[in-house]
Symmetry: C2
Subunit: 443 residues, 2 copies
């Protein structure tokens, strides 16, 4: 029997582990709820009509079809048993739960949105983690302009043309910048009753600046670039209420503001996959407020060197009573995935444990719009064209599959030249057309 590695999650971390285990002589089972790897850093471009979902997603079976050592299973993990060394999966279809034994478990199930105890805000202010999220946000943004065009009441029209993005991390900044471009550029000549450029785009941040993970000078530049795209940044602004007609904001001085807005997008916090809770509970531990399980400096569950967890669902202990300050970005998950795979290889070779995990930060880039971006690469601060070009190259490079790279490059080129966005479809329809011809509408 060869050593069986069960990897949970086909995101950046899980896939990196599977790839690193090529020809390691292991038998790998990759479990995911979805049948594709999603390039999440470009998801905001699906939400804003620049790319289609299929262009940033790659079927897992296709990515791994030449890897006869890998079995892909679609399903959700419902429980796990650290003593028996097995996870239980609820697979697609009719079959009952399946028990999958492991010699090594690599858990890399990622994270979703966090609403800080206000889960009721989710339908009002969707976050951006899945393909479905992106298509729903795209639908809301585009429908808002349509509804404004159809309405002649100035107040309602203004609320339709107000877009609130909560949270000014990279996703929030990129989304706000893109909505600014849609309003000022893409849709410029599309409407007859409204001027899309009159749209208000508000980026709310509880902290004192945007992109807090970056150097403050880059935050200032990003804020300036956002301003040029018509985005108003409000820092020190905590959202204390969300409803169907807008948001309530508590300012730093304790006062509150009411913003009438029909489109609110949540980019403010993440909550680890429930798998983190299962792991912690199985080991008699607890998760932190963000739902993360704590792993050792070697990414292993304390007392279980055969169980490693990584990415957005974990905190990594630094071995001195604290945790490593790791950002929730793809490179961290990928490096951790490779680290976990190397640990398996080392164990199979009978070698002792390696050095603790250490994140090599190659840099950080965030794009704001056409020719506008900020970044840090090896301590070098970039902005404007160099940062923007670097961002394009890095994202094309890491996108899975040559075909997707070519398709995305073409879409970007055409968008750049024509100022257009080819994929700005409103789907699904709010009242999904059944195709039955029953409703007397058109199309």
């Amino acid at each position: 029997m060869s050593h069986r590695v069960v990897v949970i999650g086909g995101g950046f971390g899980g896939l990196a582990a599977v790839r690193r285990l090529k020809r390691a002589g292991t038998e790998i089972v990759l479990i995911d709820r979805r049948n594709f790897h999603l390039f999440q850093p470009l998801l905001y471009q699906v939400a804003t009509g620049s790319l289609t979902a299929g262009e940033i997603a790659s079927p897992l079976r296709g990515l791994l079809k030449r890897r006869r050592d890998v079995t892909v299973m679609l399903g959700s993990v419902t429980s796990l048993d650290l003593e028996a060394r097995a996870v239980v999966i609820d697979p697609v279809g009719d079959r009952d739960a399946v028990t999958v034994p492991y010699d090594t478990l690599i858990a890399a199930a990622g994270a979703g949105h966090a609403y800080f105890g206000h889960d009721e805000w989710e339908p009002l202010a969707p976050g951006l983690k899945t393909v479905e999220d992106a298509i729903e946000i795209r639908r809301r943004i585009l429908t808002a302009f349509e509804a404004a065009e159809a309405d002649d009441d100035p107040e309602r029209r203004a609320a339709w043309l107000t877009f609130v993005i909560v949270g000014a991390g990279p996703t929030g900044v990129e989304l706000a910048g893109q909505i600014g471009e849609i309003a000022r550029d893409t849709l410029r000549r599309d409407f007859r009753s409204i001027d899309p450029a009159s749209a208000r785009i508000l980026l709310l941040e509880g902290d004192d600046r945007v992109l807090t993970a970056f150097d403050p000078r880059l935050s200032a530049r990003a804020e300036r670039a956002l301003g040029q795209l018509g985005v108003s940044v409000q820092v020190g602004a905590l959202v204390s209420g969300v409803d169907a007609r807008g948001v309530t904001v508590t300012r730093g001085d304790g006062g509150t503001d009411r913003i009438a807005a029909r489109t609110v997008v949540w980019a403010a916090g993440v909550q680890a996959s429930g798998l983190a809770r299962l792991l912690a509970a199985a080991n008699g531990a607890e998760t932190d407020r963000a739902g993360r399980v704590t792993v050792g400096p070697d990414l292993a569950l304390p007392g279980h060197p055969e169980v490693m967890a990584l990415g957005d669902m974990v905190r990594v202990a630094d071995g001195a009573g604290g945790v490593l300050p790791l950002p929730g970005v793809a490179p961290v998950a990928m490096q951790q995935g490779r680290y976990a795979a190397d640990a398996v290889r080392r164990r199979l070779a009978g070698r002792g444990p390696g050095p603790p995990f250490r994140y090599r930060d190659k840099g950080n880039l965030a794009t704001i719009g056409r020719l506008r971006a900020v970044g840090e690469i090896k301590g070098l601060r970039l902005s404007g064209f160099p940062a923007w070009a670097g961002w394009l190259l890095v994202h094309l490079f890491y996108l899975s599959g040559l075909q997707n790279r070519v398709l995305v490059m073409i879409r970007w080129t055409v968008s750049f030249v024509t100022h257009g966005r080819g994929a700005r479809l409103i789907t699904p329809a709010e009242d999904p057309p059944t195709g039955r011809g029953g409703s007397p509408g058109a199309g």
Copy 2:
């Protein structure tokens, strides 16, 4: 006041009318429920993972942004008044119904599926008319292979690997051929427990041959090509029951067969848009069994030369007590759209009515798979490579937008070379991931 033309429907017919009215001095209002024009002839390639929806759809506002004479309105027609010359629209957003007056009305709202009095079959056997339909059928096809892979019960596995397509017109034939290719070619190395090539693909047709609109010799060739892709054609087979576990078929001899299948796709009939019923009722007429309204040889509603209707929602009287035998294809709608636009131009110029509408049949093509197609062009019968190449060129030519043409061409080239399908995503998930991290699944 310039002459106001209201066009209902941004499909092939409506868009052709709008385009032909360029610089006619009219004021045009184009009404559609969706914000994009959909290239329906390629929808089956979305349903089978070859293309993404965004690649065969073009935003209507984008297509018409340079046409200052055109206003696009998103909404459904809820009623119409032939005397007052106005339609009432339920627009997107909060606004109440809007009355849109017209001088000329061009109704081109198309058709949906027909289940011959068995509407309860729709959720069990979806048809293929909308983007949502295509994504749902794609989800079902791909999930069936996943569920078969996850199941170890031979009977359930066989039912998951049985695909029934009802109706052997072009859509049914093309879908069946594509599913055959998916099973025998695309997924060949993707699974570990099942052999996708063992899938049964059944194409059921009530008539005595496939592609009844084509020459019988081409039907025979198509049937042979389908056989080579592993598709079993059953002619003279009427579906008399559909449920979650399969279909019941009544044979020509009156006997019934039971087919256990978990995936059933409906390609058997169309039902005109409800707008046809509104038009007929407003004029004191009735629709036919397929819900179509009858228009005169000039496409006008009897007694109302200012109201024209066209495409899949009408029957066109031949002026001699019968109706024109027009197939439900895009070229008919496009020619009718241009005919209607020309009638408007003629009226504005003070000229008398033109000759009745006459369909110029330029040919008919259906593709079955890789290098396999059949067609007739100006009486010339084609099959094999020439028909296949012709099909590719015609479809690329008529696809809207240079960008989409390039993207589709790249996808086709890559699929052809690699035998792959880049867009085979299962979305939306049956249990849509909320992104909340609450469920302990992966990804």
